[in-house]
Assembly symmetry: C2
Homo-oligomer: 207 residues x 2
């Protein structure tokens, strides 16, 4: 079998853009090959840094934590939503061929923001109607190419609550810049941090 593997994860590094208000990613080298014969490092980070998965516990008091979810493995559909200006609606998603159990990945104009050094407020997000459509389709997970799937200006975060309440984990911070829309197998593996509301993940698409 000759599988093509596409890495759709953002690199983690000091100075990377993070969601407004989140702490910076930090990496501390505590010993080096040159001086100590071995390189050792420690990291400190928000669980929402870079490519990450939100679990129901992010917004729901009794919601499942990230270690209680199965790894996100299955059929992924990368949708071309590059023409959406502000919010992805149910209308935008209808006719995209999403099936029950699919992982829906939104490739939007956000991809242009990923190269920036700072967080941008004006990213394309999912509307509540779009979230309702995903719940009705019974997708396995939903992912987007920026640090949140929901508008920065949303106060009560109904999109997160609806998706997570329906048991649909949210993959945020995907790098889909090199990915052609279409069908792939996805392996999105967040760190199994016990009791955590989210975790950074490495995510690949395969076909």
């Amino acid at each position: 079998v000759n599988l093509e593997v596409f890495d759709v994860s953002l690199p983690l590094f000091e100075g990377m853009a993070v969601y407004e208000g989140d702490p910076q990613f930090r990496l501390k080298r505590t010993s080096s090959v040159e001086e100590d014969g071995v390189c050792l490092s420690e990291a400190s980070l928000s669980l929402h840094a870079g490519t990450h998965v939100d679990a129901p516990a992010h917004y729901l008091a009794d919601g499942r934590s990230i270690d209680e979810l199965p790894p996100i493995v299955g059929r992924a559909k990368v949708l071309d939503l590059s023409s959406v200006k502000s919010e992805i609606t149910g209308e935008d998603l209808r006719g995209c061929g999403l099936r029950k159990g699919d992982v829906a990945l939104f490739k939007t104009s956000n991809s242009q923001l990923l190269g920036l050094k700072t967080f941008s407020h004006g990213f394309v997000s999912l509307s509540l109607g779009g979230a309702e459509y995903l719940v009705s389709r019974e997708v396995k997970a939903a992912g987007i190419d920026y640090f949140s799937i929901e508008s920065f200006h949303s106060e009560r975060k109904p999109v997160h609550k609806l998706l997570l309440g329906a048991g649909i984990p949210i993959i945020e911070g995907l790098d889909l810049r090199k990915i052609s829309p279409g069908v792939y197998s996805i392996f999105c593996l967040p760190l199994p941090i016990r009791g955590a509301e989210a975790a950074p993940a490495r995510c690949i698409l395969v076909r």
Copy 2:
């Protein structure tokens, strides 16, 4: 396709066992659903906490860092080495049917140590002869069911240096307790931390 997915990653939590000398895993909740309407957390950890992958930069001054390695995807062979008392030798590995490009995973009596709250010095490790055999077989990666593949008492760490020098990443801290020896597909995905000598990983076996 009905794939069976086996998670072989250790959970990350405060109080988990870590390699002697490494800092404890820490998780800090900075806001909660009950009080703030949203749960947010930060983690700080050694890059060698739990299930993780060592890159060449761990021991080699000009070695590749974890973000420079491709995700570890391919054919994995879980070897039953439960009868090995101290060191896995080349003799132990010969006749195991390892092929070029395989990911060799060692299931040993170490699995009994994984439930303990503290680090144990006396784990089963790979001998230099065993490492030489893996290099000669041109395996893609090597993994073991404890926090190091090399004896705690090895001073110059020749096993790490030989494997990493040959471009063979090392997967440490695998939980193989529920895994029957045999052939699987592996997806071992470390966080892409830029310039880092290692990274925590989520690792699954599929068949």
